[in-house]
């Protein structure tokens, strides 16, 4: 084998090992997300429409901002009233599409109190960039 062949096979095998690691790590991370949804402390319904978010708490109160407590596992049930939206909390690196006709679930456990931004990440029409909401962790 020439030197180039060693480099070539080295790269192929190296990349394959790296990719296998990323694959396995991703599998476990996402499975953990899915398992988390089973043991949520609070379930909040999210209604998305052009171009606003509405959060409905278990006691029936409705709000334009999402208020949760630090350390509590929050399960969001995402419902769209018109087109596809996507709930994106950039500081948590989390995103889930809000698709008409299905209820998607997004689970997270905020640890640090503070104010965060919720953005719509799926193009939904002329007001897409104004479809923002506040997430307040107390």
């Amino acid at each position: 084998m020439t030197r180039v062949r060693y480099v070539e096979w080295g790269t192929i095998i190296g990349a394959a090992i790296l990719f296998a690691y990323i694959g396995i790590a991703s599998w476990f991370t996402v499975s953990q997300f899915e398992a988390q949804a089973q043991e949520a402390d609070i379930t909040i319904e999210v209604r998305a429409r052009q171009f606003a978010w509405e959060f409905i708490y278990p006691d029936g109160t409705r709000s334009a901002e999402l208020r949760v407590k630090a350390g509590q596992t929050v399960k969001l049930e995402l419902i769209s009233e018109d087109v596809i939206h996507s709930l994106y909390i950039r500081d948590f690196g989390l995103k889930k599409d809000v698709v008409p006709g299905q209820v998607n679930v997004l689970t997270f456990t905020p640890m640090k109190p503070g104010e965060y931004v919720i953005q719509c990440a799926e193009f939904c029409g002329s007001g897409h960039s104004n479809m923002l909401a506040k997430l307040i962790v107390e």
Binding site: E8, T29, V83, I84, G93, F123, G125
Partner: protein, 518 residues
């Protein structure tokens, strides 16, 4: 006497000076030139739309255009750059070069070839007049409820451009299979011809799926069917499956010819035969096959289960491996070669470099939890622009400089070429690296207005975009002026034939045979 005179006159007037000739030509080199003219015009149009958007994004609040107009700008920019710049420019190269490379007199069906070109202006006109504002991915149900007739025109435009590429691809497949001269076979066929053959198969398998999805959308919009509406038993996710089943192979429809043309010009520029011919040819086929198994990586956040998504994650990472094989073989070709620092070489090298950067930023999206953060942010925009502009368009530029002396028998200006190279490369990193950073910071794409904290990076990106624009203007002026006034070029401008690698293998073999018999 009179007939002889007109005959002589006709031979001296270039074909492009007669409108009748332009409209009726079926010759492959002339159709190829029409493809170039068309695609470069739309590079300018799409580029102006991009600059218009960047100008709007220089400040956080919307103050240049209104939101709907901005949405139309990115919709038309995206559709146009993919279907009317990056695809046709390589169809142009294929038209001009494939018959010469395999020693054929023309394509197998010259009239169909003219048809597949002339469908393009119709499609482009429909798109520009329709001025849709639904983004190039056209996600249902937004596209279903949007009342604007522009969306219907967008659908018809894509139908027509799809028909054009299917006809063109059938033509190339038949040509490559039936018109290869004796002595050219699948173990020595030029790599560009390999890439066009694979691309043609991808088009024939992928584009009908898009046409099917678009037809359902047209029915939903105009005839009250509910394929994409949940109330009627439909599913908006169906559109995403159909669209991306076409949409991801489309990426390979664009990149494989670029890789093919680089595999042709790189060895001739560095005067060293291509390293690993078989590896490059087979990896082209492998990319084409694997490319059909990755579409759901555009849909990691739609709520599909991990069990459905994991195979797409693995396939997405797997498709990086044949791409990596190509890069290593190009680098091996460079190793020990005589690198001349002329414009096509510089663009070839920047193609390889940017392809590595763009490719690696692509692998990030394959990891599902990472994609949860990056999906639909500027990171994606930065990634695919590095591939589409930084790699694919720069491959087209490299090949345009390289084959310019063949096309026009004249030489372009090296100085202006280098100015173009510098502005395109400095510009693209100023434009796309801030986009990657914006995405990591959480700036979603397709935003008309944005939070003030992102302004610095956006302003930097706008500056980069202007640099690219200036470079592209210099590039096109260079070509247009050199076409008229450039110094005469030798028939073997890059000493390719002298080094035993004639630019058009089939044509060279035909000439050698004619000399033997003559």
């Amino acid at each position: 006497m009179t007939t002889a005179q007109t005959h002589v006159e006709r031979r001296h007037t270039p074909w492009y000076k007669s409108l009748r000739r332009i409209l009726t030509t079926t010759h492959h080199t002339e159709i190829g030139m029409l493809y170039f003219a068309f695609s470069y015009i739309f590079l300018i149009v799409g580029g102006l739309f991009a600059l218009w958007m960047r100008w709007e994004l220089a400040t956080p609040e919307g103050n240049v255009v209104d939101a709907n107009f901005y949405n139309s700008l990115f919709t038309v920019h995206g559709t146009l750059m993919i279907f009317f710049w990056a695809t046709p420019v390589f169809f142009g190269f294929a038209n001009y070069m494939v018959p010469k490379m395999i020693g054929a007199p023309d394509l197998y069906y010259p009239k169909l070839n003219a048809l597949s070109f002339w469908l393009l202006p119709v499609a482009a006109a429909l798109l520009l007049i329709g001025w849709p504002n639904i983004s190039w991915t056209g996600y249902a149900p937004l596209t279903v409820i949007q009342p604007d007739i522009g969306v219907d025109m967008w659908i018809l435009s894509l139908h027509i451009v799809g028909t054009s590429s299917i006809i063109g691809s059938l033509n190339f497949i038949v040509t490559i299979w039936r018109l290869r001269r004796p002595g050219i076979n699948f173990s020595n066929m030029p790599l560009f011809v390999w890439s066009i053959a694979v691309t043609a198969f991808i088009i024939i398998l992928a584009v009908p799926v898009l046409a099917f999805g678009l037809t359902l959308l047209l029915l939903d919009r105009n005839f009250g069917t509910q394929f994409y509406i949940p109330e009627g038993g439909g599913d908006p996710i169906l559109w995403q499956h159909l669209f991306w089943f076409f949409g991801h192979p489309e990426v390979y429809i664009l990149v494989l010819p670029a890789m093919g043309i680089i595999s042709e010009i790189l060895p001739r520029l560095v005067k060293r035969p291509i390293y690993g011919y078989k590896a490059i040819a087979y990896s082209t086929v492998l990319i084409g096959v694997l490319g059909f198994g990755v579409w759901a990586h555009h849909m990691f956040t739609t709520g599909m289960s991990i069990k459905a998504l994991a195979p797409f994650m693995l396939m997405t990472m797997a498709v990086a491996i044949p791409s990596g094989i190509k890069v290593i073989n190009w680098e091996a070709t460079l190793y020990g070669g005589k690198i001349r620092f002329n414009t096509p070489t510089l663009f070839t090298l920047s193609f390889i470099g940017t392809f590595i950067v763009g490719g690696i930023t692509g692998v990030f999206h394959a990891g599902i939890p990472v994609d949860f953060h990056l999906q639909d942010t500027y990171f994606v925009v930065g990634h695919f622009h590095l591939i589409l502009f930084g790699a694919i368009s720069q491959a087209a530029f490299a090949a345009t400089y390289y084959y310019f002396p063949h096309f026009t028998k004249r030489m372009y200006s090296e100085t202006l070429g280098k100015v173009h190279f510098i502005s395109a490369n400095v510009g693209q990193y100023l434009l796309y690296i801030p986009m990657l950073a914006l995405g990591l910071l959480g700036m979603p794409r397709r935003y008309y207005e944005y939070l003030p904290e992102f302004q610095g990076l956006h302003a930097l990106a706008t500056f980069g975009a202007i640099l690219i624009g200036v470079g592209t203007i210099i590039f096109l002026l260079n070509l247009l002026i050199s076409w008229k006034k450039g110094p005469a070029a030798s028939p073997d401008p890059w000493d390719a034939a002298k080094n035993g690698m004639p630019d058009f293998m089939g044509e060279a073999m035909n000439e050698a045979e004619a000399q033997r018999h003559g």
